[in-house]
Symmetry: C2
Subunit: 468 residues, 2 copies
Amino acid sequence: MNNDSSSRIVAGLSEWIATAAPGAKLPSTRTLVARYGASPVTVQKALRTLVAQGSVESRPGVGTFVRAVRVARPNDYGWQTAALGTPPHRIPQLSTALRTFPNDVIALHSGYPDRDLLPERLVRAAFTRAARGDAAVSRPPSAGLPELQAWFATELGSAMPVGVAPPAPSDVVVVPGSQSGLNSAFRAVVGEGRPLLVESPTYWGAILAAASAGVRVVPVPSGADGPDPDELARAFEQTGARAFYAQPNFANPTGARWAPDLAARVLDTVSRHGAFLIEDDWAHDFGIAADPVPIAARDDSGHIIYLRSLTKSVSPAVRIAAIVARGPARERILADAQAESMYVSGMLQAVALDVVTQPAWRTHLRNLRQQLAARRDLLVDALREHVPAARLEALPQGGLNLWVRLPDATDLPRLVRDCESAGVLIAPGGEWFPAEPTGAYLRLNYSGPNPGAFPDGARVIGQALAAQ
Amino acid sequence: MNNDSSSRIVAGLSEWIATAAPGAKLPSTRTLVARYGASPVTVQKALRTLVAQGSVESRPGVGTFVRAVRVARPNDYGWQTAALGTPPHRIPQLSTALRTFPNDVIALHSGYPDRDLLPERLVRAAFTRAARGDAAVSRPPSAGLPELQAWFATELGSAMPVGVAPPAPSDVVVVPGSQSGLNSAFRAVVGEGRPLLVESPTYWGAILAAASAGVRVVPVPSGADGPDPDELARAFEQTGARAFYAQPNFANPTGARWAPDLAARVLDTVSRHGAFLIEDDWAHDFGIAADPVPIAARDDSGHIIYLRSLTKSVSPAVRIAAIVARGPARERILADAQAESMYVSGMLQAVALDVVTQPAWRTHLRNLRQQLAARRDLLVDALREHVPAARLEALPQGGLNLWVRLPDATDLPRLVRDCESAGVLIAPGGEWFPAEPTGAYLRLNYSGPNPGAFPDGARVIGQALAAQ
């Protein structure tokens, strides 16, 4: 028998081994002799080759077995880089605000309210109830549970003065969280390569979604009073943009709340340019001194795409948001949301609706307001005492964050590192700027765990700053 | 007092009215006289103007009130069309398969298993349990709950023969349903404007996702035996594509399951072209005569992007899927998924993991297999009896659908209409073709409600066909 015959058996068995379970027994020598029409010597030679290759092991007197030990070898996925090519637009890293953290640090960096601030009892009860209902095993319509669409439409409609036509339930598209909503709105209303005006600084999740959607972001200077309306008008004229993304109430990170006069000017500018205001009402449930009235309550002409999320105020597990839009814009957004996720879990929709329609939800929001006020004031006082160099342009009347300016010479990366070494997590402000940061800012969140440690946290920041 | 003074009051009050609640009472005439420094006559004139404009109503002896009646007027959102421009790529309509339907029809069109086929008790118990746990109020890492990542990695790894390195839990990205997974994979691995090879016919949700991602779809002929490997190789060469999307086990709609030989050839072709196979293992839990082994179990070289969904087999409310990928491809997919949805509800992840790790899940899958076999055979027999002109190229060994060819001259839209009038919903095959349909096909789903009515449904189809 020649060498070829042995190779043929090796090839045949290798194919079999490739799909065999570890430990599987190979056919006996006698069977292989018959199957391949080869001599026992040739079959033995083939088996020895397979043993040498490491794919089988021989147990004398028992048989030959597919090796149960997995092969460990270094990965080489370099070829993928050629297949993938250069990404058309770089997606930024996830923000510091999304980092998870151990229990023993003082966390001023997070963007999510602590569990203490959630309506935990309501959420658990709603899940338990919904587990018994239809929502646990059925599929809702693509645009959302009709009852939840109606709730969102009514909430916005009830803030509208007479003379402004309220949205219909069918104007509401339920989406699986506000991040998905931003992506759908940017893709559907702006589109790849086209300009989108944004406040600077603005929410980092929106910067991320814009990058992901391939939208060209154009920064409009903003601050404690909201965006500069003259710069906004100029940006519309210079870029031909047809959309402006903003957070008119308690903007993240600045805390800005637009005065009625600014709201009117922005809306006028947007309308004059035949454009959309994409209003992200992220802090609707986080008013402290004031109840936020959406700018969308002033408009029924289809110029405002209104985004309202429940995730942060109900529970991070209940990823539910809604986009309220009218006309063709609503059609485009719905088509994008459907292509992206088909429909949103009816269970999460049922739970969200259950929570926000309980009388205890109103009570919860009232308590939340007091807690946020106390936490904000505690952190502000601690900063005044321990970080005198920090400047707070305005006391936010809602939201979850302080936007603090440090002296221009501050080495921010070093400050963040030094604070982290001392057990205090803070978020450098650069992540909230769509282009270059205009100063050394920190975003300090006062909704994290253990507010009693705020003074300690501020002391650490102050010491780290003084050490520079 | 001159006219200007009255206009000034009208303007001032209009601004106030614009943000006032319906039914709010205007300040008294005396107050307005003082505030505007105007005579009572001028104030009255201003109020009459507002009444005439319809924004307030006067109740003599009581006061003037913001009108509670909403203005009804036709919408004009025509300006939006200019702002939105032409969509860069048309997103197709949602499929017939997603239509909801009344109880009294015979539904052979749906893509979702009937509630009878779901592990309803397990799902409800899992939600009830999870409602008491951490998942209800906490936020999981972006790539997924580590335990669920590990479960997906182990499931795929356990199908791998020795010599193939199993995936690590960190190779798994949990996504909110397979539709989101397809979108992320297409955006991250293929990218806007680049070619993606797909079977023809193929899953309509993939055609939708490809359109949404702006990917250029290139059809590769496929049928009851899977794709034509020569055409696949040619398509790679001609287009320079670096990715092929396919469903190797119980493809939707054809039911095809790739023979080992075809699987090896496809994998070889894909590797030779430095490309990716995006394997959609949608029917992993729907094997009837055979247990599906993913093609991904043959590969550790990073050539396969493996998509595994639990939504259809666990519950439509538990929108959970996973992508298993290695190397830079996994990084790109994770970055896209994060930018799109930040993270997936930990509640849904906890429930999915709970269900699939219960011993009763295995029992459920065994029962499901028997039910699917019985339903499939019932529908096949009914078609043989009542629709003799229908040709079934092969009996599917898994999945939820029959792919039936009708005589070429069939007027398919008329057939669908006629059947619907007679209370039978069927899905025309055209929706599953990325380009032109190559024949008059129907996709008939045997996992819908009330299988006892399958013979009646087949009779209606047969009669409608005979009437043509």
